[in-house]
């Protein structure tokens, strides 16, 4: 539990609503901008992609790397954040 970041805890604590992509753990300004350019402007759109990939870790990581060039740590953070959010709210 202590390995999760502040951003992760904040995101997982409540329904994401209309939060931006930057609110996702592992997604900072640069990655957020790249995602927005590809059309993933809100966190729920990334969630949609995550769900379409059936919450599979490997596929989602690949997709993240492909879409915004996230490194391994960022991929892991984002995946963990979304997975936990789904566990609580989905």
């Amino acid at each position: 539990m202590s390995s999760t970041s502040q951003k992760h805890k904040e995101f997982v604590a409540e329904p994401m609503g209309e939060k931006l992509v930057n609110a996702l753990a592992g997604i900072g300004e640069v990655l957020g901008k790249r995602l927005e350019e590809k059309g993933f402007d809100k966190a729920y759109v990334v969630l949609g992609q995550f769900l379409v990939l059936k919450k599979d870790e490997e596929l989602f990581r690949d997709w993240l790397k492909d879409t915004c060039g996230a490194n391994v740590k960022q991929q892991g953070d984002c995946y963990g954040c979304l997975r936990e959010w789904c566990d609580s709210f989905l």
Binding site: K9, E14, E57, E58, L59, D66, S88
Partner: protein
Amino acid sequence: MPVFVEDPAQFSKPRLKSELIAHNVTLPAVESKKQVYVELYLKHIVQKSAADFSSDEEDDDVVEVQDSQDFEEEKDPEMLDPSVLTDEELKTTLLKYGVEAGPIVATTRSIYERKLQRLLKPAQPRQNGGTGDADQYSDSEGDEESVSQQGSPETVSLMEENLHVDIRMVPQSWNNKNTEYRYHQCFMPLSRMQVSPQSVSLRGGCDVDSSLSSKSFSITQMVEEFESRIPLSSSGPEIKRGNNRSNNQGPRPRPYWQEVATVDKYTMTNRSLFVTPKTSLFKRQIKEPVTDVLMEMFPETEPTPTGIAATRRRPIKGAAGRPVQFKYPDLPASPMTLQRWAVEHRLVPLWVQILVFFIVACLLYLIYAAMEDSLANPFVTLLDNLSMETETEGLSLQAEP
């Protein structure tokens, strides 16, 4: 007829290419069919030992084998290049490799294509490399001849491939997922059967049997445990059970099976409709010898009448107004929660504020009243009036009688 005639039509395309290069023949266009390579080979290389009849026969052989070779060639590009496949084909191909793909949409397609490429990679070099040796261990569907001759080595190799897939999946997955993948390999033969019936039956049998046997073993194990408990419980000298026991001897075997079924499925549904009259009986049976699998898994839970216990589901955080309790007790404040806290914070001493306000108001009024001299007059006049009235009344009373 010479024994060691080399039939160029049986060579693979890269082999023909290399042969042409070795004999310094210019290669045709890269995407040209194998037939072109064969012709070139025949033209430049075989002409050294050309006898008319042999060349004719080779031509015939080329024509005959061409269809099957073309068939094989058609398959090869599909296997090499996932982007040629339609969504459905991509999905079925992935399923063959044990990957249950989700919907293949615009955004997911490239991911799945890449995954398929990664899966194809270890298979490809083996296919294209040699002829005889490669055929033994290749996974291609077009090699029908090799399959019929070498059934067992292929099953071994296929198992190895599946293990390879498994090994890759295992580090990332939980135990449940592992069984899922094994499940898919059980189902894979069913799909493959439609494509290549020869190669599948052996493998399918192996996988299905092993999984089924493992499942059946667990069921029998549980049944043995329950049955071993029957004699133990029946010998128990409890008074309450004395009356019930005779009634329950008959239908006893049935609930056990049902209990086994429910426990085995881990559905956690309370199928106590059949079991309720015998709740006391089961309670004691479960308490005495704790060999129940569930009890081993969850030793802290209290035994229930049906032997099934369900842990309370963690409530959905933040939904329906439920507070966030479990995961992060030391929550940092998000803007929404901060506002909520601020409002609540003010409500508590509100009545104190109102009380203090009134006290201060009264004090001020008294001070004002004390300070101002002009106000003293109304009080004095009032008092005088009152006293005058009483005096007049008193006088009038005195006057009358």
